[in-house]
Assembly symmetry: C3
Homo-oligomer: 657 residues x 3
Amino acid sequence: MHLGVCYYPEQWPQHQWESDARRMAELGISRVRIGEFAWSRMEPEAGRYEWAWLDRAIEVLATHGLKVILGTPTATPPRWLVDLHPEILPVNKDGITLNFGSRRHYDISSEIYREHCARIVTQMVRRYGTHPAVIAWQTDNELACHDTAPSYTEAARRRFGGWLAARYGEVERLNAAWGNVFWSMEYRSFAEIGLPNRTPTDANPSHWLDFRRFMSSEVASFHGLQGELIREHAPGRDLLHNFMGFFTSFDHYEFAESGLDVAAWDSYPLPRTEVLWFDDADKHRWARTGHPDIPAFNHDLYRGVGKGRMWVMEQQVGPVNWAPYNPVPKAGMARLWTWEAFAHGAELVSYFRWRQAPFAQEQMHSGINAPDDKLTAGGHEIAQVARELASFDPTFDPAATAQVTQARVAMLFDYPADWIVQIQRHGADFDYQRLVFEWYSCLREMGVDVDLLPATADLSGYRLVVAPSLPVVPDALVAQIQAGQAHWLFGPRTGSKTADFTIPATLPPGPLQAVLNVRVSQSESLRPSLRPAATFDGVRGEGRSWRDHVEPGPGVDVTAVFDDGVPAVVQAGRVRMTTACFDPALQRAVLERCVRDAGIEVLTLPEGGRLRRLGNLRFALNYGDTAWRVPAPEGARFVLGGRETGPSDVAAWIEMH
Amino acid sequence: MHLGVCYYPEQWPQHQWESDARRMAELGISRVRIGEFAWSRMEPEAGRYEWAWLDRAIEVLATHGLKVILGTPTATPPRWLVDLHPEILPVNKDGITLNFGSRRHYDISSEIYREHCARIVTQMVRRYGTHPAVIAWQTDNELACHDTAPSYTEAARRRFGGWLAARYGEVERLNAAWGNVFWSMEYRSFAEIGLPNRTPTDANPSHWLDFRRFMSSEVASFHGLQGELIREHAPGRDLLHNFMGFFTSFDHYEFAESGLDVAAWDSYPLPRTEVLWFDDADKHRWARTGHPDIPAFNHDLYRGVGKGRMWVMEQQVGPVNWAPYNPVPKAGMARLWTWEAFAHGAELVSYFRWRQAPFAQEQMHSGINAPDDKLTAGGHEIAQVARELASFDPTFDPAATAQVTQARVAMLFDYPADWIVQIQRHGADFDYQRLVFEWYSCLREMGVDVDLLPATADLSGYRLVVAPSLPVVPDALVAQIQAGQAHWLFGPRTGSKTADFTIPATLPPGPLQAVLNVRVSQSESLRPSLRPAATFDGVRGEGRSWRDHVEPGPGVDVTAVFDDGVPAVVQAGRVRMTTACFDPALQRAVLERCVRDAGIEVLTLPEGGRLRRLGNLRFALNYGDTAWRVPAPEGARFVLGGRETGPSDVAAWIEMH
Amino acid sequence: MHLGVCYYPEQWPQHQWESDARRMAELGISRVRIGEFAWSRMEPEAGRYEWAWLDRAIEVLATHGLKVILGTPTATPPRWLVDLHPEILPVNKDGITLNFGSRRHYDISSEIYREHCARIVTQMVRRYGTHPAVIAWQTDNELACHDTAPSYTEAARRRFGGWLAARYGEVERLNAAWGNVFWSMEYRSFAEIGLPNRTPTDANPSHWLDFRRFMSSEVASFHGLQGELIREHAPGRDLLHNFMGFFTSFDHYEFAESGLDVAAWDSYPLPRTEVLWFDDADKHRWARTGHPDIPAFNHDLYRGVGKGRMWVMEQQVGPVNWAPYNPVPKAGMARLWTWEAFAHGAELVSYFRWRQAPFAQEQMHSGINAPDDKLTAGGHEIAQVARELASFDPTFDPAATAQVTQARVAMLFDYPADWIVQIQRHGADFDYQRLVFEWYSCLREMGVDVDLLPATADLSGYRLVVAPSLPVVPDALVAQIQAGQAHWLFGPRTGSKTADFTIPATLPPGPLQAVLNVRVSQSESLRPSLRPAATFDGVRGEGRSWRDHVEPGPGVDVTAVFDDGVPAVVQAGRVRMTTACFDPALQRAVLERCVRDAGIEVLTLPEGGRLRRLGNLRFALNYGDTAWRVPAPEGARFVLGGRETGPSDVAAWIEMH
């Protein structure tokens, strides 16, 4: 449980570095991320490197016992590089070439740019790879941010052709897989294949899906290229990237395979609440706290991406600058978010940023210190967390928390599922991430901990596995269902596609029919006003947005039916499926049934109340407006707070289980 | 009354063709449309033709007694053709060149592309033009779909200049007609004239109108070029095109003059209801049936375009893929839509498509068969229609229905009116088609049959002619008013423009002043909250969206006045005019008065109930939710259904009139 | 108090000019603006000038005693010029080159175009500069209209680089001022600097602000170039430009420094009400009158721009063509708007236009005469105004009105403030002009007259100065506060930025801290649902949209607090600040307190009632729906109307003060 901070020494006069470092250490911070975005200072002109300032910056930090996470500056190629190679600039979906003047102004598929990235990273790792204070390396920054992946350049087109050739071998196989006989889209060679943008009407969804896969691999290989150099020259150091929550333009699980020790992510609960799919009432309700499940969802997701190792690389401290509306967080939230992260297994919570910059694009983004160097309200809360960490109850076993407990419930998160839905939304309001998040939130409101995992994971340790939607069902997953004893719940659109983006020959749910013998004769998307009603376990609710009309085969029970006769929930032994998106009450009824059947306790928490186990600890976090008497057992020993947990407050007790 | 189907043999293994053809015939289908979109199979490389597969496909169909409608594949130029001539790609209004990868990726003004179209069509008609099974030819597919007309290419600009030179002779005449002295827009030669897109503010509306006229003629000549080749090599075969309902980017009446035997159209009631102007309550009300007047309106419109001969080339059978929301149709609708088409004089109802494709862009578009070859719910309904057709009551005289009865009411539909309104909407919510549709719907709700016709038609047989809006009033129309005995009703904006898109010298309604002596001193568009009230025949209602302030001259009666004193309805003998768009109640009051004055019976039908005469038959079609006791005379002989017509059901009886 | 009209002789047959001029004179018109837009008639081909028609047009007008305002035609370069130099076409923010075919199709930064403008203007002024009938010259037309400034051409980029070099001298100074170390945005030379558009995410706000400043100076120098020629060749004539109300893409005060005798503006109250920020209820309420403060606000603003001399160059007479909805004005409004202008010191009210053109883009824009040459409803009202002017009560001293009375309240209007907010809105609904307008409206509803002035003006004569928001506080303003005795009220975001677009070192309100010792520790934007409540002077109200969290220092009183403890109003002696945008009631409470403290009378006017002093006259203007008993003193002598002022009517009396 470390505290960290994002710091940009190049943005401040050198005489200030010393006091900055001292004050960081005094505050309880032990990790400092620096370096990303500083290319123009590392290499002011082509081939002329200047390291003295960075040498000294690291030295000053190290002197105060601070450990450094060094970022590669490849998110911000300098002007001279753009002028030298204008072809590295990105091209957007409409075919417009973007300009220098902000960040991420590069084409991730540019081989020229990749060479320059390899060059600057090589220089960095040769100089600092074995520096004792430099304990970790971050590549680039928030890859794909600002819609920079997919990229629509000629370089992307060329490499896409190569990727397709490698995937399909012969173009006839591609034509068959994509169904290119449709609309005379047949190709005679891989070189003929263009990008799927700017077509008069929809391009072939198979074309899109392969392009999305290709672009995902481009992001991974862009990171991997730097990762290899870092591994080679900085042995023993952690390799990481700082992901953005809710970004799905590349498959993070695939990315992790390209070389990753820790999945770090950037946590901005307030702006994220403002920009996501929530309705206005929810956006208002959580405007100053953020939705209670936004941080948790990403902690659980990225812990899976990092195979257990997760950091928060940038944690919101106060008001930020990038949402349509940017309120001041409620008092206590910087502390609450920090403990929430630790409760979900974060090894490090690092704040963005040490001091608010009074200039440039992020001048309205607050930090631990105001531009006049006074600690901010959030800064004071961090000082409190540091004190709490320093004086953590000695009866609590820190070693136990180092090992994150595996939850009893796994939820499958599938990046290609999101691509598939984006490519063929079919119903304008169908949102894969929203559906996943709503199921997740439903489980968290019952006090249930959840691990988010890919459909390819080993799920043998779980009592219940839920998949809110899984368009492509891997055969291996069916084998896991058959082999294990877990309960399973699948949502709508499951098994609706093959890996080629076609409809399975036996119709959906395709391979899942081996364990749930139903045939989806037709599917429909529902306008918001169309809400067929159904009852499950006595709870009346509505289907929304999507409905699969299933015909149950032998051995399948229909356990809920819509008023018009279409099955709502079907079941074959341990495997259930819901045929539509449900309203929260009906969704909860089904999930609650599954949780109980799996032998897991169901609690009823107050609005905004959340629980989380970590080792032998259980945390209670109160995002609500009223005090909460937390469900600790009689006589539980509290290591943080007490039984009455006020608004924006947190408690933790040792649980004997 | 034939049933047909759209079929794509190239998309399925050849061994399946035989069973497909057999099952079609068994189902009662007698017509099969094939071939459109298959260019890459007909000519896999430049100049290398492959016809064997198509020979065989036609043969298999013919063996089962099926007749073939052969489509030209020009909606989908193959990749090799695009690579050979990239300049055939279309350019959109923003100046962006579109890509290969879907369909309609061609510039309709490209002379190079027209040559290639002529070439492939020539090859086809030489081979199949006199094949006994091939009874009809369709050119291209849904011309102008996906906003591909107008086209904004350099080729379009060049040809537009030529078109203008032919129209005006001398550029000074064009300058005068367009009023180019305004804003120094004067041209010194036709070659100087560009396209009207991408101007800093509105281009000259006269410039736009001529461009729209030109583009309309481009669409017609593109079809005509193919039509001529078909006429030459396929003597005696029907020449057709499959239009899309509610597409007005070209003048269908002008198109028909370029060579057309049958006006075929593609009927998708559900997605059309979702994307048209209806408010949310109406979209919900008709989400699973489609608005009751959408099919009828187009049947009546295209019957006029085809001078009496009308087919439904593609009829929705089940859920489709292209609206924001795509629900499953209510049980019975595939049958109901079919009978509605026949009731309006369709010679053929052809379904889209034989079997849902599990791949490519339209994989979520259902058909008669699911991808696993099982008949869909809609497929079963079609089987029922086929049985009903086969056993039609022998006392009914089929010959009588072959001749569509001329209605007593004509409604004028004017494509240039829609262009004029689009070019100069003036009020953001003024929609010409919506206004026409609302008047049409109003008449249909009274049980009145309507023929839709151009303003240039011979209208001498009608008792009542209504024109919801007719900005340019032809002199010949005024002559028809004066010569005949019909009643006439004109709506707002009538006579507001000359053919050059200028205001008539005597102000609106221009030439109509000869029969209705009023002067529109000023016109206004009304924000939705501004709704002046008026009363007609005791019915209180509101004006909306637009109002012409008319000053009545001698001989003109003001039969309704808005509360602020502006005339709402004016009348001179048999000619009436409404000065604003009215709400449904007030609109009905005025139309009902006109219908009664014309000696036509007015009925009050239940919500969703519709009637239609065909020869000596009268059909009752129930789009509503409750059973309907249809207004058949005592002792009427029912040839379909009975006096009680349930939801989504249909009845027909022999009417002695 | 002159009446004028906009006239386009080139658009009408010459035989009509004589009667037009005669009827103008008869109507009471004495000024006629002509010439702008007529380039293609002045110079039909490169270098071939045709002046005979214009000679004659001026002659005809002069013969009838009419004085001419001659416009330069540079808003409409002819086709031949565009073909000769296609590089003069503008490029929009997305990088798309715009086309010929409307107006303003030129790049304001094009040096080639500037040469051609100088050439045509030189020709004009040499010919007509000393013509006795030509009393004034207008440059171009509504500069920057249709989003034509900023311009995003290569020429703009080149000149911007030069402008930056002149401003900063050395690129290092620019890098430091902009904070370009952030995101490696550092430049090595001015030539490297591009335009700030089309970046993947926000460009540096300092980059944008300098670009906006540069573009503002481009607009000014474009005018100045013509102005110099006019000054040289047309000595003694008024030099003017016709501005559009609410256009802020250039700094009008800076513009005036480039040479301006009169600030003329174009007044279209109805469409402006429809397109501005008003909610639907207000748009409906004022749909036929225009919001009562729209004309007044601009009169007061442009009177300041013109240093006391203000004209209405184009006054709406009837319905126009360019808003989403274009209703007919309420009877009386053309007259009311005219008197409102005179009451605010307009020397001339000139109507757009003499006769509605039946052709081209503005054919739906009404005028004094309909296209059939009959006087319109608005035309009749103008005739009434002319009669009233002619018979103005002789006891009224016209000389007194020639001198506009300085108001007691000054409001600061700051063009860069609007740029700053646009560049970094931070809260999606924060609108600088809206905030200013709401404060202005609040004052006008109390019967208070207001002068709008720049922050650099000499404010010594005012009792109260209000600045709804002033992000950059000039040091000289602080000196004025300290030196004078006036009361001051500042709104949110005041002092939030330095001139370089950075946060002041001591945090906001920066320099204002010298007179109001507070520190804005953090600022927040508030979604519409977040509305913290506060009470001031017993009035309960809400903060909206924005809130500065201020920490009051010694000597500062907190006179209102939000319920959550954040100060709402702070005060130090004569200086007050509101920390948020307030709802109208709370805003009025604070302004009313300031007005009373400044010793100014506060009235309560009925809805739509407005007062205005001019010399020894006081006008009452009734935009409301009911008669108003105006607050004239007992025995006041009315020179217009009487004590009961009906809807859309006006009264004026001699006030002894």
